[in-house]
Amino acid sequence: MTPLAGCLLASSMLFAVGLAGALTRRNAILVLVGIELMLNAANLNFVAFWRFGPHSGALTGMVFVLFSIGVAAAEAAVGLALILAVYRHTKTTDLRQLIRRRG
């Protein structure tokens, strides 16, 4: 197995773990954690293609990951703020209870 295939396989495993967590956990915070893991798997792919790809002098992969980290930080801040606001109204972060109550 080439190093590029190893990197891609590791990142797809990370993506699958994040997706399984986001689909099976009941807590809204942990769903957000699963989404963060999937985002990190995508970033790992960018870095792997930058490292092993033919046009590594262009730095495009690295710059894209840098921007992606910035977007992920904003996403986490807004998502956690929304969870806090919802918790203040309903006193729960359990998604099934929230769905049952319909707001």
């Binding site: 190093p3 840098l66 801040a77």
Partner: protein, 167 residues
């Protein structure tokens, strides 16, 4: 496939699995920090020094700590509701994730890109990265700065305690 890469990937995956499987939310957040640190170490292993350190700073230093704060603020650590969905739904979720992993693995092993010969480590000094950010990517950098400012102000506004105004 070197031994350091395998070890780092194993640490990252174990941390991610632990973050998705633990019952206590604080434990999940700490396992998540381990997974993020593993990904940062993988970046360092791949030769992207600046990205590895940025990953450590942003994810381990900020996002994991933010998640711990929110867990403590929502008292999620001592909730008595079961942490996982009921069994059929859980089975469906794991089935979907496994199917997507199988498709991705099939695509990886059947693509031509993995047969490329090993490249020398590309040179990406912090100076080169800074020049690229300031010259070719100046506009996206400004946009991301604006977006971060707007998102953080929005987050503060959303999470701010509402005043008991006249109803």
């Amino acid at each position: 496939m070197s031994a350091p890469f395998l070890i780092l990937a194993a640490v990252t995956l174990i941390g991610a699995c632990a973050a998705m499987l633990f019952r206590g939310l604080v434990h999940c957040a700490l396992a998540l920090a381990v997974a993020f640190a593993g990904i940062g170490a993988l970046y360092l292993n791949l030769g992207a020094q600046f990205l590895g350190l940025a990953q450590l700073l942003v994810y381990v230093g900020a996002i994991a700590v933010l998640i711990v704060f929110v867990v403590l603020l929502t008292r999620g650590g001592d909730s008595d509701s079961p942490p996982l969905s009921p069994a059929p739904r859980q089975f469906t979720g794991i089935l979907v994730a496994g199917a997507i992993f199988a498709i991705l693995a099939w695509a990886i092993f059947h693509s031509f890109a993995i047969h490329t010969p090993g490249m020398p480590v590309p040179q990406a000094t912090i100076r080169q990265l800074g020049v690229a950010l300031m010259e070719s990517y100046a506009l996206p950098l400004e946009v991301i700065g604006l977006m971060l400012t707007a998102a953080l102000i929005g987050a503060v506004l959303v999470a701010m305690k509402e005043k008991p105004g006249p109803q």
